[in-house]
Every structure is written in C-alpha cells, then in structure tokens.
C-alpha cells in the first residue's frame, strides 16, 4: 500500500502524518490522531455521525479522503471546549436535555456550529436544513432544534410555536 504525506491543522494543532493512499478523513482522525469524537455510523455518508468541519464547511469524514484535506483546517467536537469551558452550543444541548444515547451528538454539534459560524441568526427552517444530514434515533430532533435556536441571537427564531414539542 502506497503511503502518502498529509499535513493539516486539527483543532488548532499542526499535524503531519503518513497515511495509506485512500484513507478517509474519519479513519485518519480516529486511528491516527486518536480523536474518537467523530463516529462511524454507516461509513457511507448517509447518517452524519462523522460530521466534522473542513475549512468551516461541514463534511462527512467517512467519505472524504484525508489527501483532499491537505493544508486544511479541521475542527471536531474535541476542539470545541479546549479551554475547559463548554461552547454555547454544548451548553445549550445540555440545558435542553437534547441528547439521549449521545452517538449522533458530535456530528449534530458540528453541523450546528457550521451553521452558526456562517449565520449567527438562523431561523427554524435554517436549523432544520443544517441538521437535515444528521440522523438521530432517540430524541425526535425537537430538543436539538430548540437548543440550537436558543444559541442563535435572532428575534425571529424565538418563535418556535409553529412546530415543536411543548
């Protein structure tokens, strides 16, 4: 198997490694970097549990080649609370009881972070769209949507009465 060099920033840290050509970003993060936060729910790009940010964009790490991420900036949930304090999104999920088994949570949070980094004032439809690539089997999604909206600073998003669990 041909080995190729890759170099990128992962959660603020410069990493340079040799990998087998064709290695996915997910395998690289979990096995080489030792970051177990992105999950391998399907390995086909259909469940979202492997969602990480590459240069600010949400990517499905299980179908992304690490070779295509050279010189990129990779963010996973492991970098969200690096200074010991929870990111507002993490705190919001905690406060809203928006996780049960927790398997979808890392991917869900990165997809939400990508949304808020690009659009600090999303409305409910924006949040639904941003999370539409992340499957959750436990929560029914509603608490997650509310948690994300609570972090957004838009007045429009306060109106969650249209749909939602009370």
């Amino acid at each position: 198997m041909k080995k190729v060099p890759v170099q990128m920033t992962v959660n603020g840290e410069e990493r340079a490694e040799f990998v087998d050509s064709g290695t996915t970003l997910l395998k690289f993060l979990r096995d080489k970097i030792g970051d177990l936060t992105p999950k391998a729910g399907c390995l086909q790009g259909t469940c979202g549990t492997c969602t990480v940010l590459v240069d600010g964009e949400p990517r499905l790490a299980c179908i992304t080649l690490v070779e295509d991420c050279r010189d990129g900036t990779i963010e996973t949930i492991a970098g969200l609370s690096a200074d010991g304090k929870l990111h507002p999104l993490q705190q919001a999920l905690l406060d809203h009881f928006a996780a049960q088994c927790g398997f979808c949570t890392p991917g869900m949070l990165m997809a939400a972070k990508a949304l808020l980094d690009a659009n600090p004032h999303p409305d409910r439809a924006d949040v639904e769209d941003a999370l539409s690539g992340n499957i959750c089997r436990c929560t029914g999604y509603e608490p997650i949507i509310r948690a994300v909206l609570s972090v957004s600073s838009s007045d429009a998003c306060r109106d969650t009465a249209e749909r939602g669990a009370v």
Partner: protein, 455 residues
C-alpha cells in the same frame, strides 16, 4: 410538559425531595463533549477484524464449503466454520426457559435465510477480511422458499426449520398461544353487527445510529473481555459461555452506553463468534456490523398479520372479540415465541369484553429472523386494535372517543386472561385528551372513573 396532578391525587404522596425533580442527567455533559465511550471507541493494539461470509440464497442446502483460496490470503489469521464452534447453537430461548433451540451460530447443512452466517473470516485488517471473505466458495443447492405467514402454514409449504418439524412454534396449547374467555360464538349470535378485518405490517428496523458489534480481548488469568453494547450483560455472557463451552467466570463483559438499541441489541449474535475468534487466535478481535448488516442481517420487528372479528351491539358494546395473530418469526425463533405469547396477553386491548378468543401464532418463513423491538408484541397489535375501534364506532355512528369510554376497562373488571384489572387509567387519559385537544364528548363521559365499576 404538564403533569396534571389532580388526577388520582389521593393515591399519591407528593412530598418527595429528589423524585419528581428534573435533575440534570449524569451523561449529557460527556455526550456534548463526545467523550462518552462506545464499544467501538476502544483502542486496542494488535486488533484483528472479523467479517462473515453469508448465504446469498433464501433457502438452500450447503453442498460444499471451500475456504482454501481464503486461507491463502496473506492477511487471514483464522477461518471459523461450524465444526469449530464448540456448541454450535444459539441459546436465547433456553435462557428464558422457553426452548427448544433451533438456530446454529454458523450454518452447516442448510441456510434458511438470505444473509445467514456460514463462515467467519478473521484477518489483520478490515480490508483483508473483506477480500478473504470474497474468496470463500460455497456450493449450494437452492430450495423453494416461503415468505408469507399463511402460505407457510398451508400443507405442502416448504419446511423452513427442521428443528420444529413444522413452520410454527408449538406451544403447550398447540399451534398457537390460546386465550379463551366466555363463548365468542354466542357473543356473535347476540351482536347486532359483525366486523371482520385484517391488518398487516412489514418488518421494521431499530436502525440505531451505532451499529451492533463487539470487541473481544484476551485478558489476564485466561479470561476474555468483551466490549459490547448489548442490552443484557448477563444474558449475553451466559449465551456466550454455553456456545463456547467455557465457564461463565472466564468471561468479562463490559458495556457502557449503547448508541441506541430499541430492542435490537439483545439477540447476542455477534459476541459468541467474536469471543470464539479471540479464543482461537489469542488476539483481540472486532466484529462491527456494517450499515447493510444492521439493516438486513440484524433482527427486525416481526411483520404481523392480524385478523379481528368483533360482535357489536347497537348501543356500542363489544360483546365478542376473536383475534388471530400471525407473527413472522423469520427463519429462526430468536425471541418470537415469547413475543407472540406477550401479544396473547395483550389482546383484546384495554377494554372489558365478556367473550374473547385469541390465537397467536409464531410462524417461520425464509427471511431474516425477527426479534424484540420497542413495543415487542404490543405495537402492531395496538395498530390493529385501535383502527378496529375506530371502524366499529363509525358502524353505529358513534364518536370514536365516546365509543372507547363505553368499552374501557376499569378496576375490578375481568380481563380475558383471567386477571382482575388494577390501576386502570385509560378513562382519565381519554378525558384529559378530550378536553385539551378540544375533541368534544358528552359530559357523562367526563364524569366516568376508572375506579368505579360500570353501572
């Protein structure tokens, strides 16, 4: 979410300190940081990978298994076939005192469903295991298959499972679990209307985001550790110990949080073979289901076919209910005989009916074995029962909710399986729903109580 404290207030002491409070969960902080350990998050040096060679046919005789090409694959460490499994029988039913056992861990003479495991490949990489699995050659003689539960019960249907000798599980009550109260035929005689309907469902998957799997690791003192998301630590441990023919004390099962389960991580189909692989190689072994395996190989909720025949009077009383329920167990029992029996205890629903006859069948077909899933034995029955109630109400032009009040069970009512109703609250749930959702009903129904016998 409101808790309506006024109902049954005299049956409660609400002077608790911790109970009733929405204390923050102990695991959510770990979830949001992604540090909750799931079984596949264990990092173990020298890990081997197991992949399964599976039947491509619904029903076939195995003529020959040729693993020679696979053995020559450089990554392969061990190949496991039926004769390598010390006790090659799954033991789920005997562990809940339900016997007989009817399913091999690895097939040897026949395969009975598309996907049935035949050969386990253990290799030093996932890729190597996949490649070697593709090199295994199995010669089959295809057999006719049966997929429909009622077809499976017809004379002349292909026999799915020789352990049973017929395509249904034999209860001590015969081909079905039977419940009988009163005389349904007499009930039908005095009914003003008869409604006979059929309801169907198809298999439904748990589809947790974390797939089924496990990692087995040889440990100190000649023991084996198994990291597993099983829902039942000791069920799996006992199961594995019998199949491996080793004392249970040599096994150490460690779970954590399962990444979603919903009844789909009970069957313990991965742990025994993975532990065996670790035993035979002396190395740690991981067997993690692909998403395809999770969808099509791991057990699903049984499809069901339910016939309900009801006798109804003009004033809205169900005087007789006859139910025939067929649960599609697939090729093997797993937990379905237990599930079909649970259904028999659930019919005719939370209603007081004087004449009831229930027959619940556990039927074998050539498909992926079904097993427990959230609502095992209840969910599909409730679909049939509550659609039937809706239809019955409309026959006599009665409001569907009011119709349920007339038939709802109350404390002290005799149930079909000869237990007295206790702790009933169906009436109160319906009253609260009616007012809250603005589904108007006559005021006499709002005055009813589960604690009062009907007039």
């Amino acid at each position: 979410m409101e808790i309506r404290k006024s109902y049954f207030a005299d049956e409660r002491h609400d002077d608790l300190k911790e109970i009733g409070q929405s204390r923050q969960r102990s695991d959510t902080a770990g979830h949001v940081r992604g540090i909750t350990p799931f079984y596949a998050d264990r990092r173990i040096p020298g890990l081997l990978h197991l992949r399964m060679v599976r039947s491509p046919h619904h029903h076939a005789r195995i003529l020959r298994i040729d693993t020679s090409a696979a053995e020559r694959h450089p990554g392969v460490k061990r190949i496991i076939v039926a004769k390598d499994v010390p006790h090659n029988v799954y033991t789920m039913l005997s562990l809940i005192n339900f016997g007989p056992e009817d399913e091999p861990v690895l097939a040897f003479d026949k395969v009975r469903w598309l996907g049935e495991p035949v050969v386990a490949i253990v290799a030093d990489s996932e890729r190597g295991a996949y490649e070697a699995a593709a090199l295994v050659r199995v010669d089959y003689e295809e057999l006719p298959a049966v997929f429909d539960v009622e077809d499976a019960l017809k004379p002349g249907a292909p026999l799915v499972n020789e352990y049973h000798g017929q395509n249904y599980f034999r209860y001590d009550s015969g081909a079905s679990r039977k419940v009988k109260l009163g005389d349904v035929e007499a009930g039908f005689q005095r009914a003003d209307y008869i409604l006979e309907q059929r309801y169907d469902s198809s298999p439904i998957e748990h589809a947790p985001t974390e797939t089924t799997g496990c990692i087995a690791v040889p440990d100190q003192n000649n023991r084996l550790i198994c990291y597993t998301p099983t829902q039942a630590i000791f069920f799996t441990l006992d199961h594995a110990s019998i199949i491996l023919d080793i004392p249970g004390q040599r096994l150490h099962l460690i779970g954590g949080t399962a990444g979603g389960a919903f009844g789909g991580k009970v069957d313990s189909t991965v742990e025994p073979i993975t532990l065996l692989a670790a035993m035979l190689t002396g190395r740690p072994v991981a067997f993690i289901y692909s998403r395809y395996e999770e969808m099509q190989i791991s057990s699903a909720r049984a499809a069901e076919r339910i016939y309900i025949k009801d006798g109804l009077t003009k004033d809205g009383q169900i005087v007789a209910r006859q139910v025939r329920c067929y649960m599609d167990s697939g090729a093997y029992s797993r937990l379905s005989p237990y599930g079909a029996q649970k259904t028999a205890g659930h019919f005719p629903g939370p209603y007081t009916i004087p004449n009831v006859e229930i027959d619940c069948y556990c039927v074998y077909t050539n498909r992926t074995p079904s097993s427990s899933m959230r609502g095992f034995g209840i969910t599909i029955a409730d679909f049939a029962l509550e659609v039937q109630m809706d239809k019955l109400a409309r026959i006599i032009g009665m409001d569907p909710l009011e119709f349920r009040f007339i038939n709802a069970y109350r404390d002290g009512d005799m149930k079909a399986h000869r237990q007295l109703t206790e702790g009933a609250a169906l009436i109160e749930c319906m009253q609260e729903t009616s007012v809250w959702a603005n589904w108007p009903i006559e005021s006499r129904f709002l005055k009813m109580s589960s604690r009062q016998k009907r007039a």
